[in-house]
């Protein structure tokens, strides 16, 4: 019996011994060193801190540690080991959808959720799916295109 918060982080069982009110974003970066999770706004406006919580996209800046007890947390570091990531990675590269890259970890996880929900999404569904993830470099057209390519190239993966 532990007083800590047990959860799964990128496939590994972990126990967090700190405060239940701590921000998941801060804990992922500072305690677990997962700096692929970016801090942009700390108020849910930018999506740079997006992670998968039990398979759903959430902003880790708006999640308290007590919320993740018993849950499955996947950050870009964990997701990067999947076949699906490889497809998205290649698709993003193919159309130069990344420039400074700050939004990309969140954007890729948002892409995963779009394709997990519908392997052949419409452009409107893609745009809605990334509507909480802000990009200030390339804009959205290349990213939308990349998700469309991933849907095509990754047929069967999602």
């Amino acid at each position: 019996m532990t007083n800590g918060i047990e959860f799964t982080l990128n496939g590994t069982a972990v126990v967090f011994e700190g405060s239940a009110t701590a921000r998941l974003l801060d804990v992922l970066r500072d305690t677990y060193g997962l700096t692929g999770v970016k801090c942009g706004c700390k108020e849910g406006e930018c999506g740079a801190c997006s992670i998968l919580l039990d398979g759903r996209l959430v902003n880790s800046c708006m999640v308290a540690m007590g919320r993740v007890a018993g849950c499955d947390v996947v950050t870009i570091e964990g997701y990067a080991k999947t076949e699906r990531f490889k497809t998205l990675d290649a698709a993003y590269a193919a159309v130069s959808a990344a420039q400074c890259g700050f939004c990309i970890p969140g954007m890729v996880l948002a892409s995963e959720c779009i394709l997990a929900k519908n392997p052949n999404p419409t452009e409107e569904e893609i745009r809605d799916g990334i509507s909480g993830n802000l990009c200030r470099c390339t804009g959205y057209n290349a990213i939308v295109k990349a998700i469309q390519i991933a849907a095509k190239e990754g047929a069967g993966l999602w």
Partner: protein, 272 residues
């Protein structure tokens, strides 16, 4: 758990709520914005009683812990509520934000609460001592002020479905996603055989509390559409007097003009 409680049943949650000065944590999407973390959180996300969605006759009972996404994915969610929920923030926030939290925040900008106001929904409040069911209009006492005792939790929203199918919903925000309502309007009107059987209107994001004036809407209920047309200028004038927007990010004059235009569009949509 340090600074937190993680109950798995409602009974357990209510016992903790009664005994300790905890802060209920539903979706966290409003709560976590504060830079300073104070007090202990009562996590409500693993309580099955707060996740239930049950239809009983013409009432849809929705657990306060249902997220916007869960309601969007549920077959019983009526179109009007679905339309409002789909425009809230963005997917990542809809995945965590709950209807109970939206109400508990006590804001007139809460987009789901607007639908509960126009539908004359009620909220169920439970404590170890018992429960109360209050019309949502009575539950809001002012900006950020609710008729909620420190030992109570909002456990359910009771949404009457009877008049919901024939509606008009308009959200005015600065952009398509992640937009906080500058004005939001919901109107219900059912016309049968040329007679207005039901009319209900509500405004969000205009005053300290969502505006819902059944006394004004009563002017049109039971009237033939032609009669209602004759009364229209009187109805609009009465509403113009009732709306006193707070000065916020956008001017009060702008918001009032938009409000009256939306009301006029709503009436026109139903031939009035």
């Amino acid at each position: 758990m340090v600074n937190g409680w993680n109950p798995s049943t409602l009974r357990e949650a209510l016992a903790i709520r009664a005994q300790y000065p905890v802060i209920p944590y539903a979706g966290g999407t409003d709560l976590m914005i504060a830079e300073e973390r104070e007090g202990a959180y009562l996590f409500l996300n693993r309580i099955p009683e707060l996740k239930r969605i049950v239809r009983e006759g013409n009432i849809l009972r929705m657990g306060a812990g249902c997220t916007f996404t869960e309601l969007l994915e549920h077959s019983e969610t009526p179109a009007l509520l679905r339309e409002a929920l789909a425009l809230i923030a963005a997917p990542a926030i809809r995945n965590e934000g709950t209807i109970g939290g939206n109400i508990a925040n006590g804001s007139a900008k809460a987009d789901s609460a607007l639908i509960f106001f126009v539908a004359d929904a009620s909220v169920r409040l439970q404590s170890i001592a018992g429960e109360r069911v209050l019309p949502i209009r009575e539950f809001y006492l002012g900006r950020k002020k609710l008729d909620l005792r420190p030992d109570e939790l909002i456990t359910e929203v009771l949404l009457p479905l009877r008049w919901l199918d024939s509606y008009d919903y308009q959200k005015i925000g600065a952009r398509k996603a992640l937009a906080i309502s500058r004005v939001a309007f919901a109107g219900l009107m059912t016309v049968e055989n040329g007679i207005i059987l039901h009319c209900a209107t509500a405004y969000g994001a205009v005053s300290d509390v969502i505006i819902r004036r059944p006394d004004l809407d009563a002017m049109l209920i039971g009237k033939a559409v032609e009669q209602a047309k004759a009364l229209k200028s009187q109805y609009l004038a009465a509403y113009a007097e009732a709306i006193a927007p707070t000065q916020g990010r956008v001017s009060a004059t702008y918001r009032k003009t938009v409000c009256l235009n939306l009301l006029d569009n709503f009436l026109k949509k139903f031939g009035v």
